[in-house]
Structures are given as C-alpha cells and as structure tokens.
Symmetry: C2
Subunit: 196 residues, 2 copies
C-alpha cells in the first residue's frame, strides 16, 4: 500500500493531477481514472478526499481563480502608469496560458458551463470583474493622455481580452505553430498602435 498523507496534501495533489490531465488531454479526458493515474493512486482513493466530481470541479475552479485571475487586480492596483499596467496584465496572462494550457481549457469548457452551473457562476463573476478591472485601467490611460481620447474603455478591454482568448484558443487547437510568446509580442505591438 502507498504511503499515507493528510487529506489537505492529497487534495492538492489531486487538483494538480487534474489540471495536468486537462492540460494534456482536455477536459473531456478528465475522468476519475485519468486523475487517479496522473496522481499515482487508486480511483477509490479520490473519493476518500472528494465527495465526487462536482467537488473536484469546484476545487479546480477555486485554484485557477485564486492563483490566476486575481493577478490582474493586483497589477491594476499597483502604482505604475496605465499603459505599463495594461502591458503587464497582457503578458502575465499570456504567460499563464503558455505554462498551463489546462487553465484556459477548463475556464471555457462546456463541461463547466453546461454541466456545473455553480462553478460556472463563480467563474462568470470573476470574468466580469476581470473585464471591469481592465476597463478601469484603460479609462485611466485615456484620462492621463496615454491612450487615444475617442476609444471606449469597456469595448477596448473586451477587444484586448478577446485577443488573449483567441490566442489561447489557437494554441489549444494547434493552429499556432510558432511560439505563443513570439505571437503575443506581435499582437501586443500592433494593439499598441491601435489604442495610442
């Protein structure tokens, strides 16, 4: 039999294993069997620490939300100039996506939004505040004269997030043959020309 560890540690291991499964084979492949194999334990043991797949999904969403989406708010609250903040948000978001493909896959997966409404609600709230955060930074940029005065903060924020999201998507489905960081630099350079 395996070494025994506390539930707290096992939970983290299981969530991490789940994220790896999603990153490697997609949310569709997120079966108890796959998680158990990735975590190196039996299927039954998953149920020892989680009541079922629902709780596992919630934990996964919390983990992603806390470690990832909170990031933008922190940057926005910093003391730098708006344009700098925007750039930092953009590239840190891209970096997260590049390092962990399971994140965007999970966040925008059907299994979450059609199969786990409570998890979906929590994620949509986070996405909404993400949009507001970026809008606020853009509005500040306009006020301070760094950005063109005629642009609309909210729509520009949505355009920027769409650009990020589309990049993640293209990477996920393999359209992006070159490196995602190279691609994102080109996109950002062009976006700068559009907004300022």
């Amino acid at each position: 039999m395996r070494e025994k560890k506390s539930t707290r540690i096992r939970k983290e291991e299981i969530v991490q294993a789940a994220l790896e499964v999603v990153g490697g084979k997609g949310v569709r492949a997120l079966t108890i069997a796959a998680i158990a194999e990735s975590a190196g334990m039996s299927e039954a043991n998953i149920y020892r620490h989680f009541s079922g797949k629902d709780e596992l999904y919630s934990s996964l969403a919390d983990f992603i939300g806390n470690s990832v989406m909170g990031n933008a708010a922190t940057i926005a609250a910093g003391g730098r100039k708006p344009l700098e903040k925007l750039e930092t948000i953009f590239f840190s978001h891209i970096k997260i996506i590049a390092e962990n493909p399971g994140v965007p896959r999970f966040i925008f997966s059907e299994d979450v939004f059609l199969g786990h409404p409570d998890v979906a609600k929590s994620l949509t709230t986070r996405i909404g505040s993400y949009v507001e955060t970026v809008s606020g930074v853009i509005a500040a940029g306009v006020r301070e004269g760094e950005l063109k005065p005629e642009i609309s903060p909210r729509e520009t924020a949505l355009t920027m997030l769409g650009m990020i999201q589309f990049t993640a998507l293209r990477q996920t489905i393999g359209v992006l043959n070159c490196d995602i960081t190279v691609e994102s630099k080109k996109l950002w350079a062009n976006f700068m020309k559009l907004i300022s």
Copy 2:
C-alpha cells in the same frame, strides 16, 4: 414506421439536428441518442446514413465550413471598398453566431480537436484561410488609405477575429445579458476608431 426519404435528405436532416443539439446542450451532449431524438428518428437509423460518429463529425464540419467560413471569402472577393467588406464580414459572422450558437461551440470544441484529428485538421486549414482572407482585406484598406498605415494586417485580423470569438464565448456561457447584436454594434464602433 416513419415515412421514408432519400439518404441525401436524411443526411441533411441529421446534420441539422446535430447542430441543434450542439447549440442547445453543447458538444458534450452530442450523443447518437440526442441526435436521433432531435431528428425524430431511431438511433439505428442514424447508422443507416452515416458509418458512425466520425463521419457525422466530418459532415458537420463540412456544413459549417461551407455555409459559414466560405461567406467571408465571397464578401472579400466582392467589389466594394475594404472597410465596407470588413464591416460586412464582421456582422454576418456575428449574425451566424447569434442564430446558431452550435457553430462556434463545435468549431472550438475539445471533442473535435482532441478526439477527431482529421476533422480538426480540416477546420484549422479553414480558420487559417479565414485569417488570411481578413488580413488581405485589411491590407487593401491600408493601401487605399481607408485604414491607418502603421497597423499590421495579420495581427489586426487576429484581433478582430478574437473580438468576434470572445463575443461568441460570452454569449455561450451567459455572461452577455444584453442582446448580442447590440453588443456587437458597440464593439464594431470602437474597433473602427481603433483601426482608422
């Protein structure tokens, strides 16, 4: 027993039914049973017209590709001005998404890109040519002085498609509480300010 129809007609009906299932309940719910119910026929009859789920996926991809992505190429080949073409491509794409949510769901679904590599390859090719088509229109717009000379056609095209894709996504997951057409008008008005 039901009325008998030719395979050609039944195939169309089945593809349409499948698209409705995807639009209503997602690719995850695209089971033979669900398609059969939506089409009003028995499961076994699906196999009378398709060799299996793989062929059905291919047909679905072809249908979407032809009726949707071909659209942009037609518009681009027309005789209007680049900016007009861009606007038409944008709004017809949005219209398709609004009328049939199954389209973006299917195109960017994991089930397709991780479970049906041949279908995925055909779709990635189409997405690639879509990007090129839009890039071409934007490049023409720059040449003719309708758009800012400093923008990069390819990256601007990706930004525009990202904007569309993100709108589709927000509609799919329910973040978009207001009408998608209203939202898209606001986004386009802002995008015009960005590119010209």
